[in-house]
């Protein structure tokens, strides 16, 4: 059993290295940990999926935001809620095709009854949705954003 787990781990990490270097799995715990560590930084976390047309439409705004405010302490994280089975068949090819530069993750959670509330209790589960966090200040928006709206919300923090 241990050997099997080991082999699976090796296989996973190899495939991670060779095919999906740009898309890592991320749990809500890991996301929260990352935000906690990066004190004084502003985190803009966008929840999207390759099948979600309005998400794809607004992704360039997030790319532009991190470019325009390069000198700020800003981290834009793109967290996909695609099915985990779609990592190598849909998410990785999409990220390559669109040449996304912000870090892209695939949400590594399986129980929406639990993780949706942990990201924000007001979230009903629709995407696109975006979380803005800076220290104690937090804002969650379950809506598609224009670039102007995105900048306004970012600057408000």
């Amino acid at each position: 059993m241990k050997i099997r787990t080991f082999i699976i781990c090796v296989l996973l990490s190899c495939s991670g290295l060779s095919y999906s270097q740009n898309v890592k799995l991320l749990s809500v715990d890991q996301l929260q940990e990352r935000i906690k560590k990066g004190q004084d930084s502003t985190y803009v976390v966008n929840f999207w999926a390759t099948w979600c047309a309005p998400c794809i439409k607004e992704l360039p705004h997030f790319e532009k935001l991190s470019q325009e405010y390069k000198s700020d302490k800003l981290a834009v994280l793109l967290v996909s809620v695609d099915f985990k089975s779609k990592l190598n068949t849909a998410v990785v090819p999409f990220v390559k095709r669109k040449k996304l530069t912000n870090p892209v993750f695939l949400l590594n959670e399986s129980n929406p009854q639990e993780y949706i509330d942990r990201i924000d209790p007001s979230w009903s589960g629709s995407i696109p949705a975006t979380l803005f966090i800076k220290n104690d200040k937090k804002k969650f928006m379950e809506t598609e954003l224009t670039y102007e709206q995105l900048v306004t919300e970012y600057k408000k923090l």
Binding site: A53, P54, F83, Q113, G125, S126, I127, E144
Partner: protein, 202 residues
Amino acid sequence: MKKYITLMLVFTAMLAQAQSKTLKAGEAAPDFKLKNVDNKEISFESYPKAKGFIVVFTCNTCPYAKAYEQRIIDLDKKFKPEGYPVIAINPNDPEASKADTFDKMQDLAKEKKYGFPYLFDQGQVVTDQYGAKHTPHLFVVSKTAKGTVVEYTGAIDNDPEGTKTEKTKYVEEVIASLKKNQKPAVTETKEIGCTVKRKAKA
């Protein structure tokens, strides 16, 4: 002074949220009169013998809605004879989502031989009354002495991808409880879905 302004802003924000709050179990389920794909108007009153309803906000376009389409058809087949017919409502604005026009809804209902009404929500009025946030977003409603009441809101089951061998069929469990005159154990679930499409605000 600044405090009052902040307070006012908080209030306005609360009001704006309150308008589209999702109905919860125990709250009244408002009746509606909406145009079906066969051009007839449908409301709860169209079903005098029903014990309740499976009201599902779904659409032509969302991949999650498509993934659940057959399961919605099956729910109606299973529960209509038991007194809980499906009523599907498309919550999307056809200007914001071109493949969700009334014509395209008619095409889909015909192609997939929907045995249940598929209603067009002009102005997204009923969508906002129920606080439907995404597709598919489902409400189980029961008829009581006090009128129609929401019993459950959320997902159809816990398997949007349709690959789990052991799945929890939330809606089936809710209706099984209602038939035994019991309150459902689970009255609210959350699931990922496509946001309701709206016209861009001016």
